[in-house]
């Protein structure tokens, strides 16, 4: 038997291409005759448009077309509400090009198409838009007050959605509490900031009536559906390809952005390929963001620290529009009780329109905010009751024997109830306590304090609902000539290494080298059933679909091989690209089996000779393909999870604050993590470390700033601080592997794990460090040096 590939640290198939500069990102694809699009964007957060004059732009040298809402025909619509939900009334979505009003700085007002990007951008400046600015309110808490300027006159108090979920009997439990802890916490807005901005290129073949779109998206099938329905084209005439994509992190799962419709529209109209490559400033002001939430959370506890009920009411900033529905707020509200039993929960949120870039998921998607709220509240409760921070958590964790643990009444973002499926929560906490050195910490903290040093220990526990449905598929075919295995699935990769982890799964079933498994995804022309890459679901949903498919192809292969080798199927083993009769040297290659199972007329190579109609092995007593039989070795199958599967983990850190510079130094950072069985531990660690770096950004540096008039003030990489290597501390990761009972591979998602708990952990540590130096609470992220300075100097 070849060694099992599942669980092995296999090198990635895709790397040589990317390392040599041979990747094909959208803007790398050579489209002869391509024209370039640039956008005119609103400079006001809220304004009426009195008129648009495009004449100067149209006359500029090299300009081919200028589009406004008046000449885009069927595209002049409100874009679809992707995820409807009864908590929203008349949900507002934006128009590809503004008609009448603009609702945030950066909203697209006109599009210029020209011979190159330089000319297009110059001409965009020549479009003269006459705006009448309107009043705005940027403060989330003020936005819901009576009399505040409205983003949409249709929505009083700027409320986009108001939704309450209840688990257990909170009212009764509130009355039984012996202690109540209340805090207000705030998480500020950030952005995915993938290194590649968003991209779209389109070409229309008027002879075949086919539209091809290259789109740096996480959801090619969704984009195809959107294009086909909005353009009134048959799905078969629209092909959407997500080529290599330079990071996604949620921002690219949203569709359609205005450019995703307008660029194909221009390509059809002008008869030339057209592309739009977003620049960094546009990514900051035109592509969706996430995070701002303000939670008022209360824990109702017994004196021994047992939390019997939780009430949370939070405001969720949804920006100027709500195209992705309440997904982010819903994930936050259903993750609010974290890993704790807390049997009674009352959680309400209001999603609030603000005149800012629309909000849709960014890696974490509500989870970091929920984690920040519950974990900061747990620390506070521990302090108020005089209980150790690890101990209070231990007392409340869901115990191993309680799994699966259902929170009746809470519906997750998949519309299904929250069921924490498996875990060893207590063990993970113990491991964290040990790894961070909790038991000796008090002494070293004491010693450091004597020297005037501010050292603290922080911790936070998190859960991560992953692997949402509805489903994904897998298609596998063994190529009769090369014997290589081709795998397709409907979602797409932005660096996660799907091509390798899916190949590992297939390799185990078919006994072929991982390099010989060719995974093709992200092309609606090769596989058209599926959903998209989001919510840490690829390994879980596509992974299991591919696993199920591989088992089918394995059965086909063994049956055919047994026939060819005149052996008992039970004796056939698949290894090194061959079917072998166990314990003998009789074997046949997968290529030969794939050829032999395809009855042939033409002999194009020696294996094919054996499969032709006059070959000795051919049947002569009926049709070469038995009724119901499929030629070759090929299968398709699907996996649809019963509900989300919940990964979890604990972070802990030791930090030191420089009291002069207010700089935070992370001296040690540990992470205990459990995403079920790991397909490739190196890739899992990569996901955790990448998420962690984004978590560091959110905890200490990254905040999208707006002035009071709604102008973004740090929409560039100089002022918006993404951590460099010098800002990301080392992280020590340890794993538990508690299999998920919800899928055959026992896997859970890992995409968001790293980022969720970092803000809560560092806030906990910084608060602990500064306790003797002012005793301020840290209930907001990012924690900037000026916040620390304020805490120390007021102390």
């Amino acid at each position: 038997m070849s060694t099992r590939k599942f669980g092995a640290p296999i090198k990635r198939n895709i790397d040589p291409k990317l390392l040599t500069g041979n990747g094909a990102f959208t803007d790398d694809i050579n489209l002869p005759g391509v024209l370039h699009a640039a956008f005119v964007r609103s400079p006001f957060a809220r304004a009426r448009i009195n008129g648009i004059d495009t004449s100067l732009a149209e006359q500029a040298d090299g300009v081919v077309a200028v589009y406004t809402c008046d000449n885009i025909g069927h595209l002049d619509i409100e874009l679809p509400l992707l995820i409807p939900h009864p908590s929203m009334t008349a949900a507002r979505t934006q128009r590809p090009l503004a008609r009448g009003d603009v609702y945030y700085v950066g909203q697209t007002v006109a599009m210029v198409v020209a011979v190159d990007r330089y000319v297009a951008e110059d001409a965009a400046n020549l479009v003269d838009v006459d705006y009448h600015p309107l009043d705005v309110e940027l403060d989330l808490e003020k936005a819901i007050e009576d009399g505040t300027p409205l983003v949409h006159p249709t929505h009083p108090n700027n409320i986009a959605a108001d939704f309450t979920q209840v688990c257990g009997n909170p009212e009764a439990a509130f009355a039984e509490a012996e202690h109540v802890t209340r805090i207000r916490v705030q998480v500020d807005r950030s952005t995915a900031a993938a290194m590649e901005c968003r991209t779209v290129a389109a070409r229309y073949d008027s002879v075949r009536g086919e539209l091809t779109v290259w789109d740096g998206t996480q959801a090619p099938l969704g984009v195809r559906g959107g294009l086909a329905s909005i353009f009134g084209l048959d799905e078969d005439k629209v092909r959407v390809i997500a080529p290599d994509v330079g990071g996604g992190f949620g921002q690219k799962v949203m569709f359609p952005y205005p450019d995703e419709l307008l660029v194909p529209h221009a390509a059809i109209q002008l008869g030339r390929p057209v592309k739009y490559i977003e620049d960094r400033r546009e990514n900051f002001i035109g592509s969706n963001q996430e995070r701002t939430q303000i939670h008022e959370i209360e824990l109702f506890a017994k004196k021994n620290g047992e939390v019997i009920a939780l009430r949370d009411s939070f405001l969720h900033d949804t920006g100027a529009f709500i195209p992705y529905g309440i997904a982010v707020a819903q994930v936050a509200s259903t993750s609010i009780a974290g890993p704790y039993q807390i049997p009674n929960i009352h959680v309400r949120f209001r999603a609030v329109y603000t005149p800012t870039v629309p909000v849709t998921p960014y890696r974490g998607c509500g989870r970091p905010q929920a984690c920040f709220a519950i974990e900061r509240a747990m620390d506070q409760l521990a302090e108020e009751l005089g209980i150790d921070r690890f101990e209070i958590r231990r007392r409340n964790l869901i115990r191993d024997e309680q799994f699966p643990y259902t929170r009746e009444g809470l519906l997750f973002a998949d519309g299904l109830r929250v069921k924490l499926d498996s875990g060893q929560y207590t063990k993970a906490l113990e491991m964290a306590r040990e790894a961070i050195g909790w038991d000796n910490f008090a002494a070293s903290q004491e010693a450091a304090r004597k020297e005037g040093k501010a050292i603290g220990l922080g911790l936070a526990y998190y859960v991560e609902g992953t692997g949402l449905g509805p489903y994904e598929g897998g298609h596998i075919k063994i190529h009769p000539i090369t014997g290589k295995v081709y795998v397709n699935t409907g979602l797409t990769s932005q660096g996660q290494g799907h091509d390798t982890v899916f190949a590992q799964i297939v390799s185990d079933q078919l006994g072929v080298a991982v390099e010989d498994v060719i995974v093709v995804e992200g092309d609606t022309g090769t596989f058209e059933w599926g959903v998209a890459t989001f919510a840490s679901r690829a390994a879980v949903v596509s992974g299991n679909a591919i696993h199920k498919t591989a088992i089918k192809v394995r059965e086909q292969t063994i049956k055919a091989a047994a026939n060819m080798l005149e052996a008992d199927p039970a004796d056939i083993e698949l290894e090194d690209g061959h079917a072998v009769v166990a314990g003998t040297d009789r074997k046949v290659s997968l290529a030969a089996i794939a050829t032999a199972t395809n009855p042939l007329r033409y002999a194009f190579n020696s294996a094919a000779q054996a499969a032709t109609q006059f070959a000795p092995a051919s049947r002569h007593d009926g049709p070469p393909l038995i009724d119901g039989q499929h030629p070759g070795l090929e299968a398709t199958d699907y996996f649809s999870p019963e509900c989300a599967t919940w990964a979890y983990g604990v972070h802990a850190a030791i930090v030191e604050i420089d009291r002069d510079t207010c700089d935070v130094e992370v001296k040690k950072y540990i992470c205990i993590h459990d995403c079920g069985n790991m397909i490739n531990p190196v890739i899992v660690d990569g996901q955790v470390m990448g998420g962690f770096a984004q978590g560091i950004g959110g905890a200490l540096y990254e905040r999208i700033e707006y002035d009071t008039e709604g102008n973004p003030t740090n929409a560039n990489f100089v002022d918006f601080l993404i951590p460099y290597a010098t800002e990301v501390p080392a992280i020590e990761i340890s794993h538990l592997e508690t299999p998920s009972p919800l899928n055959p591979l026992g896997v859970k998602g890992v995409g968001e794990a790293g980022c969720i708990a970092v803000g809560a952990t560092l806030a906990s540590g910084i608060e602990d460090a500064l306790r003797p130096f002012g005793g301020k609470k840290f209930h907001q992220t990012p924690i900037t040096p000026s916040m620390i300075f304020g805490a120390i100097s007021n102390g």
Binding site: R12, I14, D15, P16, L18, L19, T20, G21, N22, G23, A24, F25, D27, D28, D61, G62, V64, A114, V115, D116, R117, Y118, V119, A193, A194, M195, E196, C197, D244, V245, G246, G247, F249, Q269, L270, G271, R280, Q494, G495, Q496, G497, V682, D685, G686, M689, G690, G691, A693, Q694, N716, F717, V718, I722, Y724, A725, T726, V728, A730, I731, G754
Partner: protein
């Protein structure tokens, strides 16, 4: 569609921008081209020469994705005009592997250590590290030293730890450690 839209439009093939001739060496090959005077070197390399391994992440000089070597030193091609590179010797990621595709020690180390995910920042990272490796300077291969060495390049995927490992491993493979 209205009637006039069926008529073939007259679309100019290039902009009316002023042009200048540049001659430079790119990955060992001498090229002479006419470029618009405001064209960025990054655009010239990517679209003029179709060497699309060099990426752009910000076009304002912060992320390092566009890093190439100009006369042996790491430089940001988005902050350089193509005309400024007249007479220069440029190296891009396309020169890093052997002719036959064999990965360089640096590239191998990135693969071995999982130093890339989406790969968008990677060519810029590698050209920056290459410039340091080739400069003859004493390399500080402590964690801090390596983090300092790559501190001009943003990566949003990896969290850097594996890139740090890859640099150390590459130095080892290249006999510099």
């Amino acid at each position: 569609m209205s009637r006039h839209e069926h008529l073939e439009r007259s679309i100019p093939s290039t902009s009316a921008d002023p042009k200048a001739e540049v001659t430079l060496t790119v990955n060992g090959v001498s090229v002479t081209r006419e470029v618009s005077t405001r064209m960025l070197l990054s655009d010239f390399i990517r679209h003029g020469l179709r060497l699309t391994g060099t990426h752009v992440g910000c076009e304002h000089g912060v992320c390092g994705a566009c890093t190439v070597m100009i006369d042996g030193r790491a430089a940001r091609s988005c902050l350089t005009f193509a005309v400024q590179a007249d007479g220069a010797d440029i190296r891009t990621i396309e020169s890093e592997a052997e002719e036959d595709g064999t990965l360089s020690a640096l590239q191998q180390a990135f693969q071995e250590c999982h130093g890339l995910q989406c790969g968008y920042c990677t060519p810029g990272m590698i050209m920056n590290i290459r410039a340091h490796f080739d400069s003859g300077e004493e390399l500080d291969l402590s964690d801090e030293g390596i983090r300092e060495l790559i501190s001009g390049n943003l990566c949003r995927c990896t969290g850097y730890a594996n890139i740090v490992k890859a640099v150390r491993r590459a130095a080892e493979l290249a006999g510099k450690a």
